[in-house]
């Protein structure tokens, strides 16, 4: 399956799928372009669907419409100059991206961020996870036809963005962290804001669940749709909530704790069936767990510096490093090769969306067109990250 995946659009426009069919009968297939301009592909993903009536016989994803060469840009920027660029990959979870990059470079420089910085990092990252999951929930529900959750989640996501804005001045592409810690001290009332938000959002998550979890149509639309087994997930390298919904208890926050995660008590929600409904449940649980972490962290932010001693001109020793964190969408890894100069020799990003998107073909084959939309939604892809 992966060998079908290619980014050369010139080859793909004349697919192996064959010429468009002459008839719409079951003896012949219909080939439809879903995207790149389509309301349900979450950006500029183009999915070529081979259909038999409404049944999907095969899919092919054409990506690269949002390619900006982020990895190449890194080779011409210093380590700290590249930091803002990573925010533009998964733009709904910019804080996580920044955290991963900063930690990777810190590892390369052999620097430890101070504990206070780590706590701030955890709080902001978990807030960002909530924001990302809320955006996912709203758009996913919208794809399946429920329009109301979108506005509910956006209302609540707004509160998170307000906290970000107060903290670092930006709402979406935050650039909140620096290599070696955080640049900004928390503002006055940061902890109160977070506590207030915690109190505000807990009943809201119940509200979302009330709208959807037992809604008959929602359950019918999502149960058994796009099921994927744990074995297939591991074979394809799928990570994050998709993997956990298939029953694999794998979360980098527990498996190889980074930042301050080892100090908090939280659970890894898993489900067994690996279908769209389970992924929904897992993400809803994850939101609650994130709130739990935030609650624990905000109560005991230690005092101290927020920035480690980092040289003004960063020249990491020659070598390479791979560091990965649990982004809202799965394992986000940075592989950085240093040649000892001020600029990285090569930066390679392992984006969760890109890897998870591979599973699309496996998940939708034999289902209906409407399920393709549901599965794209449940994979929670961000095209900025897929194309980079």
């Amino acid at each position: 399956m992966t060998d079908q995946m290619t980014t050369d659009p010139s080859r793909l426009s004349h697919l192996e799928l064959g010429e468009p069919a002459k008839t719409y009968l079951d003896s012949n297939e219909l080939v439809i372009n879903m995207g790149p301009q389509h309301p349900a592909t979450h950006g500029v993903l183009r999915v070529i669907l081979k259909l038999d009536g409404e049944k999907v016989l095969g899919t092919e994803c054409v990506i690269g419409y949002l390619h900006r060469g982020v990895e190449k840009i890194a080779e011409h920027r210093t380590y700290s100059m590249f930091n803002p660029y990573v925010d533009r990959m998964d733009y709904v979870a910019a804080v996580s991206n920044g955290l991963g990059y900063c930690e990777a470079v810190e590892k390369l420089l052999n620097v430890q961020a101070p504990p206070r910085a780590n706590y701030i990092r955890v709080i902001l990252t978990e807030l960002n996870r909530l924001a990302s999951h809320m955006l996912w929930l709203g758009t996913h529900a919208l794809d399946i036809g429920a329009i109301t959750p979108l506005f509910y989640t956006f209302r609540d996501r707004e509160e998170i963005l307000k906290i970000f804005e107060k903290y670092c001045g930006a709402r979406l592409t935050t650039h909140a962290f620096r290599i070696g810690g955080c640049l900004y001290e928390t503002y006055d009332g940061f902890e109160d804001d977070v506590k207030k938000f915690h109190k505000f959002v807990t009943p809201k998550i119940d509200e979302y669940e009330e709208l959807l979890t037992t809604n008959r149509i929602w359950v019918e639309r999502t149960k058994g749709v796009g099921a994927i087994s744990a074995k297939d997930c591991i074979a394809l390298g799928v990570t994050g909530p998709v993997l956990r919904a298939s029953g694999v208890k794998w979360d980098l926050r527990k498996a190889q704790p980074y930042a301050a995660y080892s100090e908090f008590d939280f659970e890894i929600p898993t489900c067994a069936n690996g279908d769209t409904y389970d992924r929904y449940l897992v993400r809803m649980q994850e939101m609650r767990q994130s709130l739990r972490i935030i609650e624990q962290a905000v109560g005991k932010i230690p005092d101290g510096p927020i920035m480690a001693k980092v040289p003004k001109v960063m020249k990491p020793p020659v070598g390479e490093i791979y560091h990965s964190i649990e982004a809202p969408k799965g394992e986000l890894g940075y592989f950085i090769v240093s040649d000892g100069s001020t600029q990285p020799y090569r930066v390679r990003v392992r984006p969760p969306s890109f890897v998870n998107l591979q599973a699309l073909e496996l998940m939708v084959r034999g289902h209906l067109v409407a399920d393709v939309v549901a599965v794209i939604g449940t994979l929670d892809i961000v095209l900025g990250e897929v194309d980079r």
Binding site: A146, I147, T148, Y152, R221, A370
Partner: protein
């Protein structure tokens, strides 16, 4: 001419189709058609605004607020935009069919209204086959949808058209069964003959002193429920809006339409919603009959109920005046505030006019009918705010495996109950 009008108004017991002479009949028919056309257009415009506002408030937002006070002029602005917009015909489209499809849809959607009884005398014509005519003509709109989807010569519209035609044809059957069970109830009159005439059906409910939704409880209720589900599917609204499922087919059968022709589809969709709601109201909810006509009977209660239309308008006017006070006090909002007050004033004048005894008596029927239909319209909006969308195979299985058997069962049970009870 004046004499004719007076004669007609005084006679008061006939639909215009049966008015004394053929010329009077023709004239009055045209007058009624004109009135219905205007009223329907206004209703669609109002519905457009209401849907946006109600949906917005369900979704914790405000909806249109800029054009006019509380966005009251937004539908007019939208209509103007649609009229001015370029009207595109795709090169590969079949020009004639592409041109005809929206017309066909709109004509069928409006034609249905000639048999809708807004009151015992307020219908264009009282057809012997009223219900059959309504079902038939509204089923013709599927042809327009198919034509639109085919003529666009594009994949998404074609799939939308196939979906909607399959859907409308399937749900028509369940709908027909529910209707038949209601028609069966009309034959239990003291006079003993059933009727398909819309006016006759309401009169049967009047004679039997019960709305058919409560007749043979719960049989009437179940039939009503089947119809209420099938009519949502028939009009392609959420949660059965697969033909125009935005997230799947971009816009379904009218993807390639723009500007004025698109607005015709829009108009047709809303008037079809009103049409099926009026069938439901006529068949089960007693049409123009006022609620509690048996329980709260007598002249006093009649008077109280006849005051409700005027009171409703006065209440709306009061809401307008209250909102006027809450408008921002900034000078740039002065015109909007004045406009809102003017709107309230208009409503108040209409409300006061409705208290005048002759008007009150003529308008009551229309008011109750409209109020019931408005209830259905609210339900439509509510569904849209609450439900996700069904998938195609689930939609079909709901239609064929749930509604159809229940419909047949209800029909048989109604027949048995009619014979033995």
């Amino acid at each position: 001419m004046l004499d004719a009008i007076k004669a007609y108004l005084v006679s008061g017991s006939r639909t215009p189709g049966e008015a004394g002479s053929i010329s009077a009949s023709l004239v009055w028919t045209f007058v009624y058609i004109l009135l219905i056309f205007l009223g329907l257009s206004v209703a669609v415009i109002a519905m457009n605004w209401l849907e946006r506002k109600i949906l917005a408030h369900m979704q914790v937002r405000l909806g249109p607020m800029r054009v006019g006070p509380h966005g009251l002029l937004q539908p007019i602005a939208d209509a103007l935009k649609l009229l001015i917009k370029e009207d595109i015909t795709p090169t590969a489209a079949d020009r004639w069919v592409f041109w005809m499809a929206p017309l066909f849809v709109v004509i069928t959607a409006f034609t249905v209204f000639i048999v809708v009884p807004f009151g015992p005398t307020h219908a264009v014509t009282d057809m012997n086959i009223g219900v059959l005519f309504m079902l038939g003509v509204s089923s013709l709109s599927v042809l327009g949808v198919v034509m639109a989807g085919w003529a666009s010569n594009s994949h998404y519209p074609l799939m939308g058209a196939l979906r909607s035609s399959a859907q409308m044809v399937s749900y028509e059957i369940a709908m027909g069964l529910a209707v038949v069970s209601a028609v069966l109830m009309t034959s239990l009159n003291p006079t003993g003959t059933g009727t398909l005439s819309m006016i006759g059906i309401v009169q049967a409910q009047e004679a039997q002193h019960v709305w058919f939704v409560f007749k043979f409880f719960p049989l009437g209720l179940i039939a009503f429920f089947i119809f209420a589900v099938a009519m949502v599917a028939e009009t392609n609204r959420a949660p059965f809006d697969l033909p125009e499922a935005e997230s799947e087919l971009t816009a379904g059968f009218h993807t390639e339409y723009s500007g004025f022709r698109w607005s015709l589809f829009f108009l047709a969709e809303y008037s079809a919603m009103i049409a099926v709601s009026s069938i439901a109201v006529t068949l089960w909810l007693g049409g123009w009959l006022r609620p509690f006509s048996d329980w709260l009977s007598g002249d006093t209660w009649d008077l109280v109920f006849s005051l409700i239309p005027g009171l409703t308008f006065l209440f709306l006017a009061g809401m307008c005046f209250y909102s006027t006070r809450r408008m921002p006090k900034h000078p740039s909002f002065r015109i909007q505030t004045a406009g809102l007050a003017g709107f309230g004033l208009t409503l108040a004048v209409i409300g006061l006019l409705l208290f005048v005894p002759p008007v009150r008596d003529r308008v009551q029927d229309i008011f109750w009918f409209t109020a019931k239909v408005a209830g259905f319209m609210y339900l439509y909006i509510w569904y849209r705010g609450t439900f996700p969308r069904y998938r195609f195979d689930q939609l079909m299985s709901v239609g064929w495996k749930v509604l159809l058997p229940i419909g047949i069962g209800v029909l048989v049970l109604t027949a048995i109950a009619g014979v033995f009870l």
